[in-house]
Subunit: 326 residues, 2 copies
């Protein structure tokens, strides 16, 4: 029921995902009459693979996490997470209120042993491929121990996604040992002593985009600002390119020719493509789609959930955490 | 004597600035024999407006601020700041070690009354113009009071740069009141109560680039990460555009036609153009040029110092601070 565009675009994304992935089954959780109405506009959908579980309440985008936790026992978000906890579904995807989703996930699913707080991670495009950036906003204030746990989780997630020996770095405002705040410096000391982790040291904001690391760790305040400012800058550059191509007859001609190239670039950088952000460290797979992502974004969030399921990410995390955590 | 490229590119930038600004006088501080040698390769320069003051020591780029403060009484950086304090020059520009420059500036020049810590500010290009972003890395951990002081200083600086009623915002991970860490929430309360300040609330990373505010306030850790990651992303996008234009014969042709447009865009976004970052809150004008900025960057840092001098920025700050600070 969540997201800035509401359930309409979510239903549309579900229909597209079902036809793209024949083995996929989806359960929609929310107001049955509304959902049935939205599904009705897609008569070709395979209803054998698309079911509805009713939930009478909805958590709004600006609701406080604590209120969502206590006040709404039959919210669509909570019911979906309870289905996951009870083994009725194998992953949960939401475009709703991030803080509420995190609070409910921790409460309903619990964290893996050794993990204090789940983290939000997403793949960010770099000069050489992708890096997994975490935390993206679930944890505003983080201790060195939290950053250490994020590094361990990010490393395991990157491995599950195909990186053999992920280079793990801490995001900092310099690469020298003396730089940064207390939490970052202390986390560096913890990571230097961790067996079996390919910790490469500090990386700066520009180093992240140069592809210096496969996993970049920071607190949720910094990660969220980095992600959103990057989205804003990419949009600004795209807008400026378009306006450059509109300035004269010659530039309009060039623009018309360059348009397919620019579209390819934008698709490559589009946050919606990469915005299936996972919650790592829970006893279950939870993927958060950007609230304003629309159909394509929610579809890629479902795709990320499918990959994590195929790779047994929570089980792999659980196994590796026991070796890596002190 | 500082910067990643050393005094050679600084001397070059000084020569260019002198010919661009006929009323400008520059004093180079450092090793006289080396500086004379570098000046000698510019025989056309007006030596009546370019003097040298000797300093026997140099602060290295990785030197700890405390060591720079205590250990090197005759460093080029310290001598330059002492010239400023003693009224022999009217502004100081450096491409050296940021932490050392900040520590020495505070020690030699002192802060303005009511200011605990100076902040680093620079103009960031947005969809609608520029925003003054501060702090950019001088203050890693900031209290709500520090953020409040930054907001006041940023507002006054934006006014001096020509914005009649600067919209001042706090950088946060959401625009709702409940979002963010304690410092940001408390700073919001302080700013809401400030007379004569056009505080507009929270802005997110993407809102900054949409041009939602003229002054955006954050701690130095966040600001530095935002600035450097933006530089890294802009470089990555430029690289990708170039490689797109190299993929086929048609795209090469389009690329050749689009090249002048792309160059204009890059010049517009280039961090070197906007990298004259000022230290606000000191009893004197200090501008920090990016260490890796090269000639153009150092020249724009000198240009920013000239503007601040013409606008009497420290004096204006001093006058306004008394009204605005609680």
């Amino acid at each position: 029921m969540g997201g800035d565009f509401g359930p309409r675009s979510i239903v549309q994304a579900c229909v597209a995902s079902l036809s793209a992935t024949p083995s996929l089954h989806l359960t929609l959780v929310g107001q049955p009459s509304l959902l049935e109405e939205l599904i009705a506009s897609h008569p070709a959908v395979d209803r054998a693979r698309l079911s509805i579980v009713p939930a009478s309440e909805t958590i709004t985008m600006d609701e406080k996490p604590a209120a969502a936790l206590r006040g709404k026992p039959d919210s669509s978000m909570r019911v979906a997470l309870e289905l996951l906890r009870d083994g009725k579904v194998q992953a949960c995807v939401s475009a709703g209120n991030t803080g509420a989703l995190m609070a409910l996930s921790r409460h309903v699913l619990k964290t893996l042993p050794g993990i204090d707080r789940p983290a939000m991670v997403a793949a960010i495009p770099t000069q050489t491929g992708y890096c997994q950036l975490l935390d993206l906003g679930a944890n505003v204030d983080c201790s060195a121990e939290h950053l250490f746990q994020f590094a361990v989780m990010g490393s395991v997630a990157a491995q599950a996604l195909g990186v053999a020996r992920p280079r793990v770095a801490l995001l900092n405002i310099g690469t020298e040992d003396i730089k940064g705040n207390q939490q970052v410096k202390l986390a560096a000391t913890l990571l230097q002593g961790a067996r079996g982790l390919n910790y490469i040291g500090f990386v700066e904001g520009d180093g992240l985009y140069r592809g210096e690391a496969d996993v970049v760790v920071c607190d949720g305040f910094v990660g969220n600002i980095l992600l959103k400012s990057s989205e804003g800058l990419a949009t600004m550059i795209a807008t400026r390119i378009e306006s450059l191509f509109r300035q004269s007859l010659v530039s309009r001609l060039v623009g018309a020719l360059a348009l397919p190239l620019m579209r390819r670039l934008q698709a490559d950088l589009a946050p919606a493509r990469h915005n299936g952000a996972s919650f790592l460290g829970l006893q279950g797979i939870v993927v958060k789609s950007h609230g304003s992502a629309g159909v394509e974004g929610f579809q890629s969030a479902i795709a990320r959930a499918v990959i994590e399921l195929q790779e047994n990410l929570p089980q792999r995390l659980h196994g590796r955490l026991e070796d890596l955590l002190p």
